[in-house]
């Protein structure tokens, strides 16, 4: 009897192993897709140009051949932003030396969060501008691109979305598509998000 049970157990384990998908986990491309001339078109992050804490112009080209995480904040935010920054620092610490990933935080308080203020804030956080860009720019351009990110990174794709000061951190792939997002105020959700980052790195940089 024991022999048959053992045989059944081994068979079940082998069957289970065969059913596991091989290769890296593929994250879905988020957002409503269109079909244009027979091709499926996914929402993508539009062109942008902002300036960071080192007075460098940051555009989509800054993240060429990279994936990046993006969020929106302001220095004097008393509630959500400190928690998001604390979790952002965990992401920074984990991927600090990984050139395949960049980080981009947009300030929505363009009047007060000047380049100098962003530099002081970056120094306080202890971050390197080559890795984590804190950017400012045209007020409407920042709010508009926030809507572009948040309308895709939404819990309910059936509802019109947009920037909502929710503390979301968003993961963008090499083709400007949003692939994941998390609640930046929730440490456990950020843990899950970092697993997604690893999955996207494996997918987009095979063998590296």
């Amino acid at each position: 009897m024991m022999k048959y049970l053992l045989f059944a157990g081994v068979l079940a384990a082998v069957f289970n192993a065969c059913m596991q998908p091989s290769g890296p986990r593929i994250l879905p491309i988020l957002g409503e897709r269109d079909v244009v001339n027979g091709d499926t078109v996914y929402p993508s992050i539009p062109d942008f140009a902002f300036v960071d804490q080192d007075s460098q112009i940051i555009t989509n080209a800054t993240f060429k051949d990279k994936i990046y995480v993006a969020d929106f904040f302001f220095i004097h935010c008393p509630t959500i932003c400190p928690k998001v920054k604390a979790n952002g620092l965990r992401i920074y610490a984990k991927y600090k030396n990984d050139e395949r990933l960049g980080m981009l935080s947009h300030s929505i308080d363009v009047k007060n969060d000047t380049v100098a203020a962003l530099r002081r804030h970056a120094e306080k956080l202890g971050i390197d501008a080559k890795k984590w860009h804190l950017v400012t720019g045209d007020h409407d351009a920042i709010y508009s691109i926030a809507d572009d990110y948040f309308s895709v990174a939404t819990e309910n794709p059936d509802l019109p979305g947009g920037f909502d000061h929710s503390g979301r951190i968003i993961l963008v792939d090499k083709n400007r598509h949003v692939r994941s997002f998390c609640d930046g105020t929730d440490a456990k959700d950020v843990d899950r998000f970092m697993v997604d980052i690893d999955a996207l790195l494996a997918e987009q940089f095979p063998g590296k």
Binding site: F74, H76, T79, D140, Y143, F163, D164
Partner: protein, 138 residues
């Protein structure tokens, strides 16, 4: 029979308990006030994002209008109101200091004042948003 020293000890302990229960729970009240003030801020920020969206739509409309069109001036005034409401929010955040190091008798009136200010700003943002929405519908 309980001896004299034990009676003194028990009485002292009982008095301590009575005073502890009777003392005002300043910490709890301050924390509640702080949370409710910041909740108003968070709500106002979401409304501000909506206001900003309407503002961008109005700006796009304005650029398409003839420079002498009366509607241009109406839109300009609505946008001015939005800008003022938004700047009010950022000004509030710049001056807000978490009352973590304040004594309760200082923290309470401070937070009550901050709450009044952010409630006013929330109203300003809401009114600017509604005025902008109404203008878009015309």
């Amino acid at each position: 029979m309980i001896d004299r020293n034990t009676w003194i000890g028990l009485t002292t302990a009982a008095l301590c308990v009575v005073f502890a229960l009777a003392a005002p729970n300043g910490g709890g009240e301050i924390d509640t006030l702080k949370k409710s003030t910041l909740a108003i801020h968070d709500e106002a920020m979401k409304t501000m994002a909506d206001m900003n969206r309407i503002g961008r739509m109005l700006k796009r409309e304005m650029t398409a209008l003839d420079t002498l069109a009366p509607r241009r001036e109406t839109i300009r005034q609505a946008l001015g109101r939005m800008k003022q409401a938004e700047e009010g929010m950022y000004a509030w955040m710049q001056q807000y200091t978490p009352p973590d190091d304040m004594k309760p008798e200082v923290a309470k009136p401070y937070l009550e004042d901050q709450k009044r200010k952010i409630e006013q700003n929330r109203r300003d943002i809401q009114e600017a948003l509604e005025a902008g929405r109404s203008l878009l519908k015309q």
